[in-house]
């Protein structure tokens, strides 16, 4: 008996810890000035080692790495959340429509998802950022647009299952419009699938943003964790083994992503209730 209780609290602790981490990052993103010891654009002597004044030393331009880390939270989270939300929105809409209406709409939308899956992402990003001014919203649009196909597939599968279930058929027989059925019947049931998917797309967006800045394709004025790491890579951070320059942003990215995944798993409780009847 006792073992059951302690396992449960272990799971709860990890959940509360992750929620704590996410709220911390959000606070940093909203009001970085309060926490950052120095303003974002204040420069000191480059390549200083960590000391009491600069907890994480300074980078090649002399910026204080600790303050950069705090200011960078805003961009990374913003991109992660907006791109994740955008891609979930498209994915769910496509999945619902193609799963519910089936027929040629389903084929068309699924063919579209295949195409988006296969379109090579990097040239498309270069193409778009060359035509439009590369700003944070363009990046969010691009990242969002290139990650909704998995969501669409999952939502479509669930909608297909749902559309043959009893209460949907009965709703349809009572003359509810498809829109009402979709919103009131199918979406609430699909929501437990959406939450982990939403978290996964957020992490996917954060990872691709970091990777894009590694390739030097993201806008230099946006200071994100990914860009800090790629600056360390291109400006001697690795060669001088300044681990205090590239490890903290790496830990922040992984920490944020783990916390998002952990929160997404809140629904995924291996059900024991099959037996108690």
């Amino acid at each position: 008996m006792k073992r059951g209780r302690c396992k449960r609290t272990l799971q709860d602790i990890s959940l509360y810890l992750c929620i704590g981490v996410i709220t911390l990052f959000f606070i940093l993103a909203i009001i970085p000035e309060v926490f950052a010891p120095f303003p974002e654009n204040k420069r000191f002597i480059p390549y200083m080692d960590p000391d009491t004044v600069h907890f994480l030393g300074t980078d090649d331009m002399g910026y204080d790495i600790f303050s950069l880390l705090i200011y960078a939270a805003r961009i990374s989270l913003l991109i992660g959340f907006c791109a994740g939300g955008f891609s979930i929105f498209i994915g769910t809409a496509t999945g619902l429509v193609s799963g519910y209406f089936r027929g040629w709409i389903d084929d068309l939308l699924m063919a579209l998802t295949d195409i988006v899956l296969i379109i090579p992402k990097i040239p498309a990003i270069i193409l778009i950022s060359a035509f439009l001014r590369p700003s944070i919203w363009i990046l969010i649009l691009i990242l969002g647009f290139f990650s909704w196909e998995t969501t669409a597939r999952v939502v479509r599968a669930r909608t297909l299952q749902m559309s043959t279930s009893g209460h949907v058929l009965s709703a349809r027989s009572l003359g509810f419009s498809s829109y009402q059925i979709l919103i009131s019947d199918i979406v609430p049931v699909i929501f437990p699938v959406l939450l982990p998917k939403f978290m996964l797309t957020i992490t996917g967006a954060m990872i691709s943003e970091a990777s894009l800045s590694f390739l030097g394709l993201s806008d230099p004025t946006m200071n994100s964790w990914g860009r800090m790491i790629s600056d360390a890579f291109t400006h001697g951070g690795f060669i001088r083994e300044m681990w205090w320059w590239f490890l903290p942003p790496a830990i922040c990215i992984s920490g944020a992503i783990i916390s998002f995944i952990r929160i997404g798993m809140v629904y995924e409780k291996p059900g024991q209730e099959t037996m108690v009847e």
Binding site: K7, R102, D107, M110, A111, L112, D114, I115, L117, I118, I119, P120, I122, P123, A124, I126, L127, A130, F131, L160, Q161, S163, T164, T203, I207, A210, S211, F214, L215, G226, I229, F233, F238, I239, E241, W243, F246, A250, I253, S254, I257, I258, I261, R262, E268, P270, G271, Q272, T274, M275
Partner: protein
């Protein structure tokens, strides 16, 4: 009987859908590079060299870039018909031979990584799902979550700094120093292990999730009531149901096999397909870009069709409610 006809019909519809998307992809893959700003001619020569205007015109006609886009597309499709992917002026070689050479190496290091990823990922994932209460199951899944939440290039950078820069156990670049097995192995151990760790942790998590959800179904309980021992329940009944979601993902891995792991190639200085495509993007090498994207798209579509067939064979429920 009705069931087999239904899935056959379902498969045909799927194949039609893929053909339709292939035609669109052919168009997109042809237009995308050509719409990118920048002029491939300029990349032919160095940064400081002076190109007289009429020399540029001469080159444009040699490239076939002077005719309007639809004509170029028509010519491209005709040549494609005879499996001629065109000639790359930047790489001074026919595209097909370029792709074959680079694809061979990429197939080597990514192929091994995917296979190891399956071996290392699926087995333990299944066990971790089956005995999810054990401490090692928690430990392994926490590790897998940690790995799949770090950006790929970051993990390879950290591995590079520790094993190559700091300890110097592994060489810095290239597929080999001298073309022999020990040198190739010595060069490829690190990139392959980084990739394997990634594929394995993803397979582990998905397999664990699938076994967990299958474990709570009623049929394992019924089989247990028939006196079948626990391990036979896992291998005999749960595994076949749990493997289904993983099949589409592994099929996609094989599909994107040829796109190469760009980050691994940049960090470990390997010239596989990934860097071929990345260089072609930067130097606007249209024939190579279109050729490689086309090859990748064909492989992804074939992988999708294969995974659909496998799904129908393994799970009779697919296609039933189409």
């Amino acid at each position: 009987m009705g069931a087999s006809f239904l899935s056959f019909h379902y498969l045909i519809r799927k194949i039609f859908r893929y053909l339709f998307s292939f035609v669109i992809i052919l168009l997109v893959v042809f237009l995308l590079p050509r719409m990118m700003p920048g002029d491939p001619i300029a990349n032919l020569v160095g940064e400081d060299v002076y190109l007289s205007p009429q020399k540029i015109l001469e080159l444009r006609s040699a490239f076939g870039l002077d005719s309007p886009l639809h004509e170029q597309f028509f010519v491209y499709c005709m040549k494609l018909y005879q499996l001629d992917l065109g000639y790359s002026f930047h790489m001074h070689a026919p595209v097909s031979s370029l792709l074959i050479d680079r694809a061979a190496w990429t197939l080597l290091y990514i192929g091994i990584a995917i296979v190891c990823g399956i071996i290392i990922g699926v087995g333990p994932g299944e066990k971790a799902g089956w005995e999810s209460e054990k401490w090692w199951a928690h430990f392994l899944s926490a590790g897998a979550v940690l790995i799949s939440s770090t950006p790929p290039y970051l993990l390879s950078l950290i591995v590079l700094v520790i094993f190559v820069y700091h300890f110097g156990w592994f060489p810095l670049k290239g597929f080999y120093d001298t073309f022999d097995i020990t040198s190739i192995i010595h060069h490829l151990v690190l990139p392959i292990s980084v990739l394997t760790v990634f594929y394995a942790s993803r397979n582990f998590l998905i397999m664990r999730g699938a076994v967990l959800s299958e474990k709570c179904q009623l049929y394992p309980q019924f089989v247990r009531s028939l006196g079948i021992p626990e391990k036979d329940i896992l291998s005999g009944h749960i595994r076949k149901n749990a493997i289904i979601p993983l099949i589409t993902l592994i099929a996609l891995d094989f599909g994107f096999l040829f796109s190469g792991a760009l980050f691994i190639e940049i960090v470990f200085s390997l010239n596989g397909m990934g860097s071929l495509i990345y260089d072609a993007i930067l130097s606007r090498d249209y024939p190579v870009l279109t050729g490689s994207f086309l090859v990748i798209s064909v492989f992804v579509i074939m992988a999708n069709i294969l995974s659909d067939i496998l799904c129908i064979v393994l799970d009779p429920r697919t296609g039933r409610n189409e």
